[in-house]
């Protein structure tokens, strides 16, 4: 591996860990971030001793006008489709898509289609990621085995480096659920929850005026709030850390706010599309917007934005690449999901342009907040930290013709403002935009 150091000059540096947002220089190599030097004011932290030497041979890059930020941490992305998911495959296209997104850490959730309870599958997933050596892919294993009626062998799965354990589906049996939570706790595996009641959550759209008008089976916000409470209640009993993945409703957030802080560290994130759209988008049965969790009302969207602004809610892509045929059906009969990983930053940038988030709020939600949710030592540009970085040009444009993801179900139809230009993983450049 090359010991090449990099010196990025003139960019706008974002380090949520030190609340730094300033024009300046960043020096890094495979050793890690070596120095952050803002143009005005003192450095937020002292440089590493290696910095001086590294500077001499560093490759310099003028990044004026660009944002320099930590590599994104996407806490929910599916990286394969179909049978491949089941055996822990990572489609090269999706790994490429992650790097083109500026993401250097991705969490793969357990799902009904791919529960990640076979240690071989998890080993395969983690091993493949390691072989690619270009980004960190972590598996969230399932809590229950394939039958859904017994605990998964969490010990074996933890051995394969699962980062957390989650519910691949709704667990109706509360005793089983409590045991699963206890067992995960005894193995120090934090919980990763997809909060959707298995009965009330069977619909295809948010329980609002659109579902009524279009005659679509509805999912009330209560389906999410109920699960938030159930999991929180049971996690509290054993003091288990808890992450709610892909929340969609004001009701869930209000409930989390209302619950006493307790002993349990609780974190959460929301999919990027739930910040951008509401169920109004479903008009005319536009199945691009058939998503899970569903797009909800404006009050929900505002509550989610509020959580992001406050720094308590992360943003995930909720990426699910699907072939064109998956949605070539009447709305509710098609598969839910959007291909979103590659467009995560430009989509988030839209929120900045619309004045709904500041740049730092966006960056924090995509980096430090998710990193902290899982105790990962990334998401920051402090000297000594791993050199996972992303270079974003707000004046660039991300077209839709040359996307790397194999998913044919991205929502957007027009090029997006802003483009990821380069991505570095452990100090090595792993992505550079063409042209």
């Amino acid at each position: 591996m090359s010991e090449q150091a990099w010196l990025l000059r003139g960019g706008r540096i974002f380090d949520p860990a030190t609340d730094t947002e300033a024009l300046g220089e960043v020096l890094f190599s495979a050793e890690g971030v070596l120095e952050v030097r803002p143009e005005s004011g003192g450095p937020p932290a002292p440089p590493l001793p290696e910095a001086k030497q590294a500077r001499k041979g560093a490759q310099e890059l003028d990044v004026e006008g660009c944002w320099v930020l930590p590599g994104l941490i996407d806490a929910r992305a599916r990286l394969a489709a179909g049978q491949g998911e089941l055996s822990g495959e990572i489609a090269i296209s999706e790994a490429d898509a992650a790097l083109a997104a500026g993401a250097t850490t991705v969490l793969v959730p357990p799902t009904t289609e791919a529960p990640l309870v076979d240690p071989k599958a998890v080993r395969h997933l983690v091993g493949e990621a390691r072989n690619m050596a270009r980004l960190d892919i972590r598996a969230v294993c399932g809590l229950l085995d394939a039958s859904g009626e017994a605990l998964a062998e969490l010990g074996a799965l933890r051995k394969e480096n699962a980062i957390a354990a989650g519910n691949q589906h709704f667990i109706a049996n509360t005793e089983l659920m409590a045991n699963a939570i206890s067992y995960a706790r005894s193995l120090q595996l934090p919980l990763y929850v997809t909060a959707r009641d298995g009965f009330l959550g069977r619909g295809v759209a948010h329980d609002g005026p659109q579902a009524t008008s279009l005659g679509l089976a509805a999912i009330p916000a209560a389906a999410e709030a109920l699960e938030v409470y159930r999991w929180r209640c049971l996690a509290e009993r054993v003091g288990s850390p808890l992450h709610f993945s892909a929340l969609s409703s004001a009701a869930a957030l209000e409930l989390l706010d209302m619950l006493p802080p307790g002993e349990v560290a609780t974190s959460a994130d929301t999919p990027i599309h739930n910040l951008l759209h509401t169920d109004e988008a479903l008009a005319g049965y536009d199945s691009r917007y058939h998503l899970m969790p569903p797009l909800r009302g404006e009050a929900d969207r505002q509550a989610l934005l509020g959580g992001v602004r406050a720094g308590s809610l992360g943003i995930c892509s909720n990426h699910r690449p699907l072939p064109g045929t998956a949605k070539a059906l009447p709305f509710g009969d098609g598969e839910p999901g959007a291909s979103s990983l590659e467009l995560l930053l430009p989509l988030g940038y839209r929120l900045v342009k619309d004045g709904e988030l500041t740049p730092m709020q966006l960056v924090r939600a995509l980096t430090l907040t998710p990193a902290a949710s899982f105790g990962l030592e990334v998401g920051s540009l402090q000297p000594g930290r791993r050199a996972n970085l992303c270079l974003f040009d707000p004046k660039g444009s991300t077209g839709l013709d040359s996307l790397r993801s194999a998913g044919q179900n991205h929502i957007e139809t027009q090029p997006l403002e802003g483009a990821v230009l380069r991505t570095w993983y452990r100090g090595v450049q792993v992505y550079q935009r063409d042209g």
């Binding site: 329980d207 609002g208 005026p209 579902a211 009524t212 008008s213 279009l214 005659g215 679509l216 509805a218 009330p220 008009a283 005319g284 049965y285 536009d286 199945s287 691009r288 064109g324 045929t325 949605k327 070539a328 059906l329 009447p330 709305f331 509710g332 009969d333 098609g334 179900n409 139809t413």
Partner: protein
């Protein structure tokens, strides 16, 4: 043809009748006028569909609606192909998309589509595009526009054109009713403001714009001049929506006594098939307020009017070289 369905058309095409969302009041009343003319000409109907073929593409069993469209087509001189999904290749695993492409390749003129999924007619519209006429004969819970139009015709014939003064009550399983949604949309376009629904909360949407929702029949019926009873579907009991048919009838079944709560001269309607002792009492179904039989005749006539209109638009479109 648009093979990558998922994105809706930018405008509702006039040759596609998918719902009553965008039909203007004058169009609704125009179709009503024409339906009356066609109904009263008997066998002298114009051969508006001469040389044209209509495919009845029914994914849900329905003898009544399908027969109604078939009669309407034949009376206008057209040919009908009944595509029965149970015996077709679709049930052998051919996708809906492939079925549509196959049938479209046979160059029929109009598709009449009934499907169990809300939005299916919109999907067919997106896939087939402008060259074909499409009539939604009922998609899931969403819409049944020709039924809505026929019901409006029945109301008009009995009570006249003072739509702003109409007080309409729809009783029963609103949540799963495409008939109710289409009727509400059509009435709203005509200017009717007092629309009420009544039934157990388990069978009502959480909220319904433009409609006042009630749980008790006694609260909803006073002053109503149209009482539309909906069919209670058996599977609602399995789905824990109501405890039993007996209790449903006890609390919400339409009886002559309940009809007495409505305005004098109020009419009783039902989209059929009726569930005697469930949705309504026989005495009500067969009583003087009932217009259920008229609804059936109006159904055929309205379908004739709709098919005639679409055939005319298609013919003009083709002349223009579209």
């Amino acid at each position: 043809m648009n093979a990558t369905a998922g994105k809706p058309q930018d405008r509702a095409l006039p040759t596609h009748l998918l719902d009553l969302d965008t039909l203007a009041a004058k169009d609704i009343l125009g179709l009503c006028d024409r339906a009356v003319q066609l109904r009263d000409t008997g066998s002298q109907a114009p051969a508006a569909l001469q040389g044209m073929s209509v495919i009845n593409l029914f994914f849900e069993g329905s003898t009544r609606t399908r027969s109604s469209f078939q009669l309407a087509t034949e009376r206008l001189g057209g040919r009908v192909l009944n595509f029965d999904v149970a015996t077709s290749s679709t049930s052998k695993g051919e996708t809906l998309l492939d079925t549509l492409k196959t049938l479209a390749a046979m160059s029929p003129d109009i598709f009449v589509v009934r499907h169990g999924t809300s939005g299916a007619a919109n999907f067919v519209s997106q896939v087939l595009g402008e060259g074909f006429g499409i009539v939604n004969a009922g998609d899931g819970w969403h819409a049944h526009p020709t039924q809505g139009l026929a019901d409006i015709l029945t109301i008009r014939e009995q009570l006249g054109d003072d739509w702003a003064q109409r007080r309409v009550v729809i009783l029963g399983d609103i949540l799963h009713s495409r008939t109710a949604r289409s009727l509400v949309k059509g009435l709203s376009s005509l200017g009717t403001r007092d629309i009420r629904t009544v039934g157990p909360r388990t069978l009502q949407p959480a909220r319904f714009e433009g409609v006042t929702m009630h749980s008790a029949v006694e609260d909803a019926l006073p002053g109503a001049d149209v009482v539309m009873a909906l069919r209670l579907q058996r599977e609602r009991m399995q789905r824990h929506s109501i405890p039993s048919q007996r209790e449903y009838f006890e609390l919400w079944g339409v009886t002559p006594e309940r009809l007495d709560l409505a305005a004098p001269g109020a009419i009783l309607m039902h989209p059929g098939p009726i569930g005697r002792g469930g949705d309504l009492a026989s005495a009500a179904a067969d009583g003087p307020a009932s217009r259920i039989i008229e609804q059936v005749a109006n159904g055929v006539a309205m379908r004739m009017a709709v098919l005639e209109r679409i055939a005319g638009l298609l013919a003009r479109q083709r002349k223009k070289g579209g």
